[in-house]
């Protein structure tokens, strides 16, 4: 019955059904006062019910976008939007190339890998790089770092911020002459660190609460352009006896994150751990949290070793092709790999 699918409380639905209203059509042409009399509820409540019905079944387009369903966008409009999409550089040119410019804002990207491969390093690099001003080809935003396992080291963030600041000064010196150089904003490591909001999460309840609260927080701090969660897995691997509950909770969180990314046009980066799965007669590595979670992110990048070189592999993306790029972790952060035979491998 259609009425059961409406966002109403159980007792309201019960009253509607017992009064004989089982479909949306039956409610479409009734007045609030009539409904109030029939169901024996106050008029304001009847008005609310009718409003939720009409929201669900509106077919006429009243918005300026010429679509046949209200609230949707045409593919052409989305293309216009996508052309203006901004990317956050990873400081590794090869990696930026296969990503189409960097980590895209407005999408959820999941990055997973074995311990020690550089997930946290990439996360810290991104919270620094998102702050690069427009003049230097960056996004000029602030960042939120949600730390669930305590792997964020302040000293490392300082090292990466110092390197970024030095790179910007070098760029300014080489490419900007005279008046331009004086006008462009100089960022000191201190400024970088000042714009990173650090949250330490100690349980899965806090994690859920924080993701819910982010909507309000980012509305108040409108220039946040990147949210890094390091790592999404930690608290969900131990406290749960009820796997069904875990899947539901994770599903809710995934939807919230996607909504956040779209609403504020920011990049949500989720770092994930690795586990072993038994498949085809041998143990395989796979990202943690199970198969149902693997649908949560828009893009997925797996960081792995190949011989002595670190690689980033695009495992899942609606618009980028599968490719691998080598990268390295240096004192200054994530950079291009220095090996001679580096090649972007297309699979």
């Amino acid at each position: 019955m259609e009425v059961l699918r409406l966002p109403l409380s159980a007792s309201q639905k019960g009253k509607l059904i017992s009064a004989g209203y089982t479909s949306m059509a039956s409610l479409s042409s009734i007045s609030p006062s009539h409904l109030a009399l029939e169901l024996k509820i106050p008029q304001t409540e009847a008005l609310e019910i009718l409003k939720s019905v009409s929201n669900g079944s509106k077919l006429e387009s009243t918005s300026s976008s010429h679509t046949i369903v209200n609230g949707a966008q045409s593919a052409w409009e989305m293309l216009q939007e996508e052309e203006t999409l901004v990317h956050i550089t990873t400081s590794c040119a090869d990696l930026d190339n296969i990503l189409g410019g960097g980590i895209s804002c407005k999408e959820v990207t999941e990055i997973g890998g074995v311990p020690g491969i550089g997930k946290t390093q990439l996360g810290v690099q991104l919270v620094v790089n998102v702050q690069i001003p427009y003049d230097y080809g960056g996004v000029g935003g602030k960042a939120i770092y949600i730390d669930t396992e305590g792997s964020f080291m302040v000293e490392r963030a300082l090292q990466i911020a110092e390197a970024c600041s030095a790179d910007m000064a070098e760029y300014s010196r080489l490419y900007r002459k005279g008046s331009q150089a004086r006008e462009s904003k100089m960022m000191h490591p201190k400024d970088f660190l000042e714009n990173i909001f650090y949250f330490r999460v100690c349980s899965y309840t806090e994690q859920i609460a924080l993701v819910n609260y982010l909507d309000k927080f980012i509305t108040e701090h409108k220039d946040v352009k990147a949210v890094i969660i390091d790592s999404i897995t930690f608290h969900f691997r131990q406290d749960f006896d009820d796997m069904a509950l875990r899947t539901r909770v994770l599903g809710g969180m995934a939807l919230n994150l996607m909504k956040l990314a779209r609403k504020f046009g920011l990049a949500v980066v989720i770092l994930n751990q690795v586990t072993t799965k038994y498949a085809d007669g041998s143990f395989r590595l796979a990202l943690a949290l199970g198969d149902s979670w693997s649908h949560a992110s828009t893009n997925r990048i797996i960081l792995h070793w190949n011989g002595n070189q670190r690689y980033a592999y695009i495992d899942k993306s609606p618009s980028l092709r599968s490719a691998s790029a080598p990268y390295s972790v240096t004192l200054e952060g994530i950079r291009n790999s220095a090996s001679n035979n580096k090649r972007v491998k297309n699979t």
């Binding site: 966002p7 109403l8 409380s9 159980a10 007792s11 074995v114 311990p115 020690g116 946290t120 390093q121 939120i144 396992e149 305590g150 792997s151 080291m153 302040v154 000293e155 490392r156 963030a157 660190l193 000042e194 909001f197 650090y198 949250f199 330490r200 100690c202 349980s203 309840t205 806090e206 859920i208 609460a209 924080l210 819910n212 609260y213 909507d215 309000k216 930690f234 691997r237 131990q238 539901r248 909770v249 690795v274 586990t275 072993t276 799965k277 041998s282 143990f283 395989r284 590595l285 796979a286 797996i302 792995h304 070793w305 190949n306 011989g307 002595n308 070189q309 592999y313 599968s322 699979t347």
Partner: protein, 370 residues
């Protein structure tokens, strides 16, 4: 924070009563349900549920700090910005000062390589007064395998810091600051941890050492499909204890043999075998991996691998957010562990994670055993 009572959150009275009536007492209960489930349970409209959840979330969320203020806090209030120096120059330089506070440092290596020696030395260093470069505090040493030797501890003390230990009563004072617990089983260990937490808050405990974690997990740890790690709760507990009280935690781990087909790969790697470079670690004679599995490996912040190659022992910084992958040769002497070379050798690729034991048996057993 997760156990915050709904009654303390300040929801409007009408809805607060409904939460209590349906047995949703803490924030954890409320946030574990989706919005639709709450609507069903509480029998209220969606808008009300949304605003209640938003308020509960806001109150339960942790507060933020800018990284700059974190930095300033550390610089002001903590010793060496939150590091415990190990007095091994090269290692301290690689770790930006020493073992970090509030983080888990793991020592892994084959038996007899020097893990307990390292722990003895570091517990002494934490107990030393600050004028001699120590933390001037108590140390809690959880000794699972009965490896703690007070005689060896004093010997290291006398040889490394003769000027301190020859002073009257100093040896007694220093040794008195190190408390040793000997749990015999996993349950006793769990109880010990609870006691430790209370103690850390009350006394000036500056270091926690657990030697060793792997001994607590009885039998073989299967790498197979296992839902819950046996030490999962403990890892979480120790981590939050370390961060809350800002102390370094050192844990030792054992090694076990690697089964032949256990070299795990991702599905996409198996499909493109021709493009893959031969993994160098497979060529080594070593077939040792750290015990306790990959979940544990993710949980520790810093992993120091102790191994021996061709008769020379090395201590390698295998996992650290702020250090390059360096390996330092070392010896075990009467002064504990000393590095032979402070610059270290930078290791490429995943070699840093390999645990070797070539020639190690020669040191211990005086025979050839490969």
């Amino acid at each position: 924070m997760a156990n915050k009572l709904i009654t303390e959150i300040g929801l409007p009275k009408s809805i607060g009563h409904i939460f209590a009536a349906r047995n949703i007492i803490t924030a954890k209960d409320a946030l574990s349900l989706t919005e639709f489930e709450l609507m069903e349970l509480l029998d209220v409209g969606l808008a009300q549920v949304k605003s209640s959840v938003a308020l509960i979330s806001e109150v339960t969320s942790p507060h933020y700090q800018t990284v700059q203020s974190l930095l300033e806090q550390r610089v002001q209030s903590e010793y060496l910005m939150g590091h415990l120096p190990t007095h091994l120059k090269g290692l301290d330089a690689a770790l930006c000062g020493g073992l970090p506070f509030g983080a888990l440092t793991e020592l892994v290596g084959p038996s007899g390589i020097g893990k307990t020696q390292f722990c003895l030395k570091i517990s002494l260093l934490a107990a030393l007064p600050s004028c001699y470069g120590g933390l001037d505090g108590h140390v809690i040493y959880i000794d699972v395998e009965s490896k703690f030797s007070s005689r060896r501890l004093i010997e290291i003390g006398i040889n490394s810091f003769p000027e301190i230990f020859c002073l009257e009563g100093m040896a007694k004072e220093m040794a008195g600051r190190i408390t040793v617990l000997r749990p015999g089983s996993l349950t006793e260990f769990t109880e010990s941890l609870q006691k430790v937490k209370v103690s850390v808050l009350q006394h000036q405990v500056k270091l926690l050492i657990i030697d060793s974690m792997a001994a607590l997990v009885s039998g073989e740890y299967e790498q197979g499909p296992q839902r819950q790690h046996p030490l999962a709760w403990h890892i979480s507990f120790i981590k939050s204890l370390a961060e809350f009280s800002r102390i370094p935690v050192v844990m030792t781990n054992q090694v076990r043999s690697r089964v032949a087909n256990q070299i795990s790969r991702y599905i996409f790697q198996a499909e493109s075998r021709e493009l893959m470079v031969e993994d160098n670690t497979e060529k080594f004679d070593s077939c040792l991996v750290a015990a306790l599995g990959i979940h544990w490996a993710h949980a520790v912040n810093i992993r120091l691998v102790l191994e021996s190659r061709s008769g020379q022992r090395f201590i390698k910084v295998a996992k650290s957010p702020m250090s390059p992958p360096l390996a330092f040769p070392f010896h075990v002497t009467s002064m504990g562990i000393i590095l032979l070379n402070d610059d270290g050798v930078e290791m490429e690729g995943s070699q840093i994670n390999a645990i070797d034991h070539q020639g190690h048996s020669d040191i211990i057993y005086h025979g050839d055993e490969r």
